[in-house]
């Protein structure tokens, strides 16, 4: 008998989706209980198109090969003291932000996809999510292993997981994923697979990867490339889920639109941290945040939303605000950290004269007018030995949890304040986008664990900032925080460099 060649699509179906069956003895709704409460209507799971057709044998084979290659590079990196090859020790602060702010999100993604990878009633969708779950676990673990060597030579990496659960600015990324995971299964997928992985992920990974490459960071660059090679599955899952929901039932369209509006805005707020990294934290610059936004969102996203329009989906709400924000957001975010540098787990710094010129060139309409004067003043004060820190605790936006430092985009001298009343309490927001999100689901956002409120309420081990930083955050004060200038990181770096060790 000559075996006929089974086409890949039919074979994959036979090996995955055909494993499931219709229940006769137990209540299937009890086995998959969370599919309906969001109002999403699934009429026919069989219409799910498998976004990729990877069986476990091939998965093991290819992923093992990737891991072998990746860990060979990690081993070589630490054996050769690869950290000495970075452009400047200041660069390392960018990856401190990554390990404390982003890697725990990969972990949350692992958990979120494990949940939906169990809960979807459709076997095709489930298996796709399971594979993403294990990929996300891979990402967090390879990131830890890539940073493990840096941790041995620089401050600020050592308590990344403890910090993620507690530190004020890390509640921005943490609340983002807590929000997605606490939502229903379909919202989770629109939030993470579509809005984040498909629409915005290039803005996170490409700048970090090319930033690493431009600054001589072989380890980060390599895990970045290695992680991106899994993204094929993740991005196609993002596209499949949105098409599937939009095609299943027309009542899903407004629900999906609402989620896109919400998660696009939440995503842009989360990315403020990438914006400041690109413009201020990389000694060797890649491109400006504004340019990255134009290439990766405005062009690519524009084409996507043009296609989505056919389903009756429009551009996310407040997208017009982001067109203005790209001129300001990185400068304002870095200013927040500069003024609170004593409470940050990484080192801040004032841009050098050359860097300011670069910023002027990249932001001809805004930098010289609004931001250069601030930095020049800060520099003057620093030179006089009067480096200042803002001592009070900032008010936080209830939704995105970023301190209220962003301005009205039509008047960059005016801090933006929005507020809503709910059950007798007043809640504050940094923008129309964040206020809108709150107003749609106030019961959810009143639960936010706002770090500043918590400190005031005495839930963080003390009322004064120093005790909180030392005891509750477990920061090594004088080592992890404050400016790069004068830090132990700087001192060691200069010693290594002057001795010519390498």
């Amino acid at each position: 008998m000559v075996a006929k060649k089974l086409n890949l699509k039919d074979k994959y179906r036979a090996l995955t989706r055909d494993l499931d069956w219709d229940y006769d003895y137990a209540d299937r709704k009890k086995a998959f209980p969370y599919e309906e409460f969001e109002g999403i209507k699934i009429t026919d799971w069989s219409k799910w198109e498998d976004p990729f057709r990877l069986t476990m044998d091939a998965y093991w084979k290819y992923q093992a090969e990737k891991e072998k290659k990746l860990y060979a590079i990690f081993d070589a990196f630490s054996q050769n003291n690869g950290h000495l090859n970075v452009s400047d020790a200041r660069y390392v602060n960018a990856i401190k932000v990554f390990l404390t702010g982003v890697s725990p999100l990969e972990y949350q993604a692992f958990q979120g996809y494990a949940h939906v990878g169990r809960q979807f009633g459709g076997a095709g969708a489930r298996v796709a999510c399971q594979m993403q779950s294990i990929d996300e676990l891979r990402h967090v673990q390879t990131q830890i292993h890539a940073m493990s060597h840096y941790n041995k030579f620089f401050d600020g990496f050592q308590d990344w997981t403890h910090m993620h659960d507690r530190v004020w600015y890390l509640s921005v990324p943490k609340s983002f994923f807590d929000d997605a995971r606490s939502a229903g299964p379909f919202e989770f997928l629109i939030a993470i697979s579509f809005s984040f992985e498909y629409v915005l992920t290039n803005l996170l990974f490409v700048p970090f990867m090319s930033g690493a490459a431009h600054n001589g960071d072989m380890a980060t660059c390599t895990f970045g490339f290695s992680a991106q090679s899994d993204e094929a599955r993740h991005m196609t899952l993002g596209l499949e889920i949105i098409k599937f929901l939009l095609e299943q039932h027309e009542d899903n369209v407004p629900i999906v639109q609402k989620w896109i509006d919400k998660w696009f805005w939440r995503g842009t707020r989360l990315l403020a941290i990438v914006a400041m990294m690109m413009d201020y934290m990389l000694p060797n610059k890649v491109m400006s945040w504004k340019e990255a936004w134009e290439v990766y969102f405005e062009d690519a996203g524009g084409a996507l939303f043009k296609d989505l329009a056919r389903y009756g989906i429009r551009m996310p709400k407040f997208v017009e605000t982001t067109a203005k924000e790209k001129e300001h957001i990185s400068h304002q975010a870095w200013w927040i950290f500069y003024t609170h540098g004593h409470a940050a787990g990484f080192h801040t710094s004032i841009p050098s004269a050359e860097e300011m010129d670069w910023l002027s060139e990249k932001y001809p309409d805004t930098f010289d007018k609004y931001y250069r004067p601030r930095w020049e003043l800060a520099k003057e004060m620093e030179d006089r030995g009067e480096r200042f820190y803002t001592n009070g605790l900032p008010q936080l936006c209830t939704t995105c949890q970023i301190p209220m430092g962003f301005t009205e985009m039509d008047d960059p001298t005016q801090i933006a304040y929005r507020s809503s009343d709910f059950e007798g309490e007043k809640y504050h927001f940094c923008s129309d986008g964040c206020k809108h999100i709150f107003d749609e689901e106030p019961e959810k956002y009143v639960q936010s664990w706002l770090p500043v409120h918590q400190i005031y309420q005495g839930n963080c081990g003390g009322a004064d900032v120093e005790t909180v930083l030392r005891e509750y955050y477990k920061m090594n004060l004088g080592e992890d925080n404050m400016d790069f200038k004068g830090s132990p990181d700087e001192k060691r770096w200069n010693e290594w460099k002057s001795k010519g060790v390498a």
């Binding site: 860990y71 081993d75 630490s78 054996q79 050769n80 003291n81």
Partner: protein, 89 residues
Amino acid sequence: MSKVYLALQDNDDSRYIVEAISEDNPSATVINQPAMIRIENEGELVVLRETVEEKIGREWDVQELHLSLITLGGNVDEDEDQLRLSWNV
């Protein structure tokens, strides 16, 4: 009597091997150096397959030691269950 020693590349497999050696040779000294782990002991040093397997969580062939080995000092006595270093008198 002089010390016998093993120097291993500082990689993940070595960490389990060192853990096993430390357990089987309580008097041995472990010195972590850049990219390298040196274990030395007065008189004798033994690497037992069984202990390494327990630490590393899989089957382990004594000859796999050579994948991570940089150098050693002492006369070698190796079989399928162990590698023993000592100075022949």
